[in-house]
């Protein structure tokens, strides 16, 4: 474990301590894993009211085209992601993936069209590598800036819209994946209607110097509770969302990871801008012909959680291996254990019964549709 003294702090570090957070090392940062309420209550509060998450450790990147035309930045970025960036309208955001020449996933990210530039949010552990990858891959057409003077908070849950409306009424007109600029308490913020919990909600990029002020005022609302990384993980698992480094990595392709929905028609075979991204040969072939293994949802039949790393078998005595679990735990909203993992294609159909090895026993698990909870995005 990294010594806490060498870890980075987000602009909200002191606020977490004042709220009684238990801090842990995460991706080079000292982050709150839970507050005194505990993971279970924090999780359920996010699903029933609104949870506030500090995600300032994530990387915020601006890609500014030297020509002034955002289309030039979009076309340059399309050389690195199998995503339709050119077709992304101003004020809209889309999920994307950086791929490598073997078709593996370098990182997953959000891409927003902000009119005269692109705004990216990337994972904390990958942000330095992503920045170098962008500088390298975009050539001279764009200026790339990794912002180190902004905080990022996520407000998630069914009460998020009502809470944020008290600061900025226009938020109600935003749809899922809209991005807008707005003043919250006279601080200019960038707000997107998105998140990573399966709930309706917002991510708010705030200048670091004003981060505590804006966050504290959000927390003053009786519907809002500060939520740690523990509940963030169980919420995203219930929502069937991948955690980079667990469920996707350089050894998994978008099609293996069941993320082909993130590859729009224009970038697929026969599309206007088909291919042209790292690993296109393999990824386009997999889109057409399928893969040997797939990411699936898994529901253990008993009460015992099946954790990441557990091996999966076709039979109850562990003779025929078929894959492994990449994320697993307990889903507080569904009140049962849930997991995700990779299985051979022959066992990937919903309803297939397989077995997970837990402490030397083989427990029955059923391949299940993702997500485990109903998404409530305002489309």
């Amino acid at each position: 474990m990294e010594p806490m003294s060498r870890l980075n702090h987000t602009p909200l570090h002191a606020l977490h301590l004042s709220l009684g957070a238990r801090m842990v090392p995460f991706a080079g940062y000292e982050m709150p894993v839970q507050y005194p309420e505990g993971v279970l209550k924090e999780h359920l509060h996010t699903r029933s009211a609104a949870g506030l998450f500090d995600v300032s450790h994530m990387g915020q990147v601006i890609i500014r085209p030297k020509s002034g035309r955002v289309a030039d930045a979009a076309l340059a970025l399309e050389r690195l992601v199998p995503v339709d960036v050119l077709g992304l309208a101003e004020g809209r955001q889309r999920y994307g993936l950086f791929t490598n020449p073997e078709g593996g996933i370098l990182d997953d990210l959000m891409i927003a069209n902000r009119g005269d530039h692109l705004f990216l949010v990337v994972n904390a552990a990958c942000k330095e590598a992503d920045f170098a990858h962008l500088k390298d891959g975009l050539g001279d057409s764009c200026d790339v800036t990794l912002l180190d003077d902004r905080a990022l908070v996520a407000l998630q849950g069914p009460r998020a819209e009502a809470v944020l409306c008290e600061l900025w009424a226009d938020v109600a007109s935003m749809r899922f994946m809209d991005v807008a600029e707005a003043d919250l308490h006279d601080v200019t913020c960038i707000i997107s209607r998105s998140g990573y919990t399966g709930e309706d909600g917002f991510e708010i990029s705030i200048p670091a110097t004003s981060a505590v002020d804006v966050t504290q005022r959000l927390l003053e609302h009786p519907d809002v509770l500060a939520i740690g990384l523990g509940a963030r993980d169980s919420l995203r698992l219930e929502a069937g969302l991948c955690l980079y480094g667990n469920d996707i990595d350089t050894g998994t392709t978008p099609v293996e990871a069941a993320l082909e929905w993130a590859i729009q028609k224009s970038r697929r075979a026969g599309g206007e801008r088909a291919g042209g991204f790292p690993g296109a040969d393999r990824i386009l072939a997999e889109l057409a012909g399928g893969t040997r293994r797939r990411r699936v949802g898994l529901k253990p039949e008993g009460r015992a959680p099946v954790r990441g790393g557990a091996k999966l078998f076709a039979d109850a005595n562990g003779a025929v291996p078929v894959g492994s679990v990449t994320s697993g735990g307990f889903g507080p909203s569904v009140d049962c254990p849930i997991a995700m993992g990779y299985v051979d294609a022959a066992h990937a159909e919903n309803g297939t019964q397989i077995f997970a090895e837990v402490r030397g026993k083989y427990l029955p698990v059923t391949v299940s549709a993702l997500p485990f909870v109903k998404q409530t995005y305002k489309r």
Binding site: Q34, V39, L40, S234, A304, G329
Partner: protein, 120 residues
């Protein structure tokens, strides 16, 4: 009088039988428990063997057998409702009763004052 281990189990010894659970400190550190797996009555364990498993939303943890002995009874109530371990760890949420191989072996464990010093 209660005895304690450095691995955060408590024991109440009566007539050579130890009632064993996890301490309030351990329950607090683990957070909200959602699953408990207990040994079977009749199983024998050596001191330090993993005898039970507790799982929170986030992670699984072992509960170690504090001394050599045989399990003679387990507490089904905490299997049915793992949250009992969080609400009453040193009372209703005992884990198992252990018939000690050596009835005097508990003498060497920590007393309450020494355990409190250990966990601060």
């Amino acid at each position: 009088m209660l005895k304690f281990t450095e691995e955060h189990e408590w024991l109440k010894v009566e007539d050579g039988v130890a009632t064993v659970g996890i301490t309030e400190h351990a329950a607090g550190q683990l957070g909200d428990l959602v699953f408990v797996e207990l040994p079977e009555a009749g199983a024998t364990f050596a001191k330090g063997d993993s005898a039970a498993t507790v799982e929170s939303v986030k992670a699984a943890s072992d509960v170690y057998c504090p001394l050599d002995g045989e399990i003679i009874e387990v507490n089904q109530a905490i299997v049915d409702d793992p949250s009992l371990v969080n609400s009453d760890p040193q009372g209703a949420a005992w884990f198992f009763k252990l018939k000690l191989a050596d009835p005097r072996s508990a003498d060497g464990l920590l007393d309450e004052a020494a355990y409190k010093e250990l966990v601060g």
